[in-house]
Symmetry: C2
Subunit: 453 residues, 2 copies
């Protein structure tokens, strides 16, 4: 579905039957995009054209603001039918995003059993495995034959979020094994599930486990779904890979935002109001502005040096920018490495040692080039000609020092944050820049005072 | 497998049988981690203990440096057996990572058919769909019955990378439909594949399509695998979701690195030599250092202003840092939005309008606070008391201007880059900081000269 225009046209010219038969051929993600792109009255019309079994699929793909406006128009029967059709995790997602009033209305129209299930899932803390799991999985018993398993899957499979991994539970709902649909399809019909299932080293998530850690497990073990168990190892739900993909996308976006000193928000940029954008950005800017004033104070303290040799001021942007950039390079590498679990706090000294050597190399390279460049620039100026070597040396040594310190601070701070259970991503560029700036200017003016004045 | 120590101990005390029966219970990802954590001679011992069918699985999970040292020790027969057992996409991945000499040796030991297949896949450009696809998929014919399809899957399924989506081709290998294992399992045995398959709006990738776009499709349509077709719509391979997850992880890491002005590398941080780390970091630092010298030149031009009122210098870090931080906030939001395909170049004016309003709000907030803070700080200093309002106004207006410009530049540059087919991620913080710094200082000194001197 590339061009929505023709569908809108069909709607405007009331070719409802033609449009309807076009729509049922489309993917639900595309229909959702079409509905999102038109005005709400047309959206409702299109939505009502969909066959029953597509309604929930399309609805789950819609962004919360469109869901909200549709719900505002739908009748109670329509709302009920959609909520019943939705997979439970999608229903929970949707209700979580709605304003309290609408969430209440939706829950009130749901059937009692569904409402109870939804309410149970709504109680799990945000970002926990429980909050993103669904209860629609295939459960088997270990004494079943493959034939019985198949007939169970055929009987109940349509409404399951996945049938490709089946979970084997005992009489107390404890998870005892896992068997894939592949294994079932390749097995003989009268084999016993207990004999063909995997029952050692099962990979599971706990209801309260951080969803980011769960996503890491799913990726590491290449799973299509992961079972979620409670503290008594009872199976309470599963999380499928499509939801894991969403978790990863959200967590990465959050990391990008934190690293740019923005309060994280999962609302798409184009749908976020400038007031909210501004609010999310201004908090850290205030903090960092205050910190930068301290750096400014350092320059103020060395007013005399600046008066004696105003040339010094021209090196400040270069020193500050290079320090900030170096520090943010190291911090980015370490923060990303920790997000991928390639680096853990135990690697502290490895990181220090690596950043030190990297910093020395980079610092050396930059400062040699800088020495030559300052020397070439000012050798023609008679006023500086006798000081030229000392000026070059001061700037270059400060640069060298700045880069080495920036690398170390950028590498170390995220690990310390992690150790203190603070998100390492907030220790990124902006904060490190401010620290490195201050150190760099102190060294610069101290050296300049000693060597040049 | 939490603690590798006991396995190493079992190895050291030659409890080979016990260790072997422990190992076969483990997940291949964990065994790979164990092998990675021990010295190479032990690694070989452990590897040789694995049953044939686990060898390839574990080998595919190993990082390239460990694969390389193992290959150096393995006999030709061992290498051949591993290459034959590997899924083709894993074999290609592995050979691509090896130094030329070893790649050649591995290819030479492979069986002719395998070698030919591998060589064909090696020809696809890096980052293309072709380069990450595998040819081990289930293909069905539309005239088959479900029963025949099942027996085909049971006959050939073990060696397929996934059996959960089956691809239906015609006599010329053109893709005509897709049928999921779920659909097959829920269907009657004598239904015809052609009747139950999906044959409209098939989601496919082209061999030369960028793998990032393919990953986006797989996520958007919640697929478990995507068929890859050539220009004549002939099915040539599939890409499974686990490989898509790897692509996304690599692309995100690359974005993080580019945004921190680092040349991207997919080697894990802890395994990268400081010389390579330094090389990847120093290139952009040179460029940005040169640019910052231009900014420094601006300060140099206003030497007289600085001499007349040295206080001006103390505001420079605050202006530079806040400008850099604001710009990087906007750039991050827009770059991430584009990576998620939420923002396209067509949204240019929407972004401009949003960033302008956000910038005005943030700028207003920061500059009011700054005005008050400067006024409070300096009202006690007799030397500034008569100028205090004008000083506060100069700094605050520059700050306001800086933030608005930073927001606009940060929002616009990534979109322009995208439009010019440059990766927007390189237009991130460092570059924007440099541009904003220069503009900010020019305005600052111009205002100061006009108002204060």
């Amino acid at each position: 579905m590339k061009d929505f225009k023709i569908y809108e046209e069909m709607l405007d010219t009331r070719q409802y039957n033609a449009l309807r038969s076009e729509l049922i051929e489309q993917n639900s993600a595309d229909i959702a995009q079409l509905i999102e792109s038109v005005k709400v009255d047309k959206a409702v019309l299109i939505f009502r054209m969909l066959p029953k079994d597509m309604e929930a699929e399309v609805f789950a793909e819609l962004p919360p603001d469109v869901q909200e406006s549709l719900i505002g128009i739908f009748s109670e029967t329509e709302i009920q039918s959609i909520v019943e059709e939705l997979f439970l995790d999608d229903a929970v997602d949707f209700i979580e995003e709605m304003p309290a009033g609408i969430a209440k209305k939706v829950l009130a129209t749901a059937k009692p059993e569904t409402r109870e299930e939804i309410n149970r899932l709504l109680k799990y803390p945000e970002d926990s495995a429980g909050s993103i799991m669904t209860v629609e999985y295939v459960d088997l018993k270990s004494e079943m034959t493959v034939r019985e398993a198949f007939s169970r899957i055929r009987r109940t499979g349509t409404d399951k979020e996945t049938i490709y991994t089946c979970y084997v539970t005992d009489s107390e709902r404890r998870l005892v094994g896992v068997v894939s649909a592949k294994r079932l399809m390749l097995a003989e019909r009268d084999e016993i599930i207990g004999d063909i299932m995997d029952d050692t080293n099962l990979i599971t998530a706990e209801t309260l486990e951080d969803r980011e850690l769960v996503a890491h497990k799913v990726n590491k073990y290449d799973l299509l779904s992961i079972p979620v168990v409670d503290m008594e190892n009872r199976l309470v739900g599963i999380i499928t890979i499509d939801d894991i993909a969403d978790v990863i996308e959200e967590e990465v976006t959050e990391d990008f935002q934190k690293m740019a000193a923005i309060l994280p928000s999962d609302k798409p940029y184009l749908k976020t109001h400038p007031v909210l954008l501004a609010k999310n950005r201004v908090v850290w800017l205030f903090v960092l502005m205050a910190a930068a004033m301290i750096t400014g104070g350092i320059i103020g303290k060395y007013e005399e040096a600046m008066l004696a040799l105003p040339l010094l001021g021209t090196f400040i942007p270069m020193l500050m920018d290079t320090g900030g950039n170096s520090g943010s390079q190291s911090a980015t590498m370490v923060i990303r490495g920790m997000a991928l679990m390639e680096i853990t706090p135990r690697d502290f000294f490895k990181v220090v040692w690596k950043e030190m050597r990297t910093g020395l190399l980079v610092g050396l390279g930059l400062s040699v080039v800088n020495f030559v460049r300052v020397w070439i620039t000012f050798r023609g100026h008679s006023e500086y000609s006798e000081d030229i070597i000392r000026i070059s040396a001061t700037v270059s040594f400060t640069l060298f020092f700045t880069v080495v310190v920036a690398n170390l601070v950028g590498g170390i701070l995220p690990i310390i944050a992690k150790k203190c259970k603070i998100d390492p991503a907030v220790m990124a560029a902006p904060l490190i820049t401010t620290i490195v700036d201050a150190l760099s200017l102190i060294v610069f003016f101290a050296l300049a005072t000693a060597l040049l004045l």
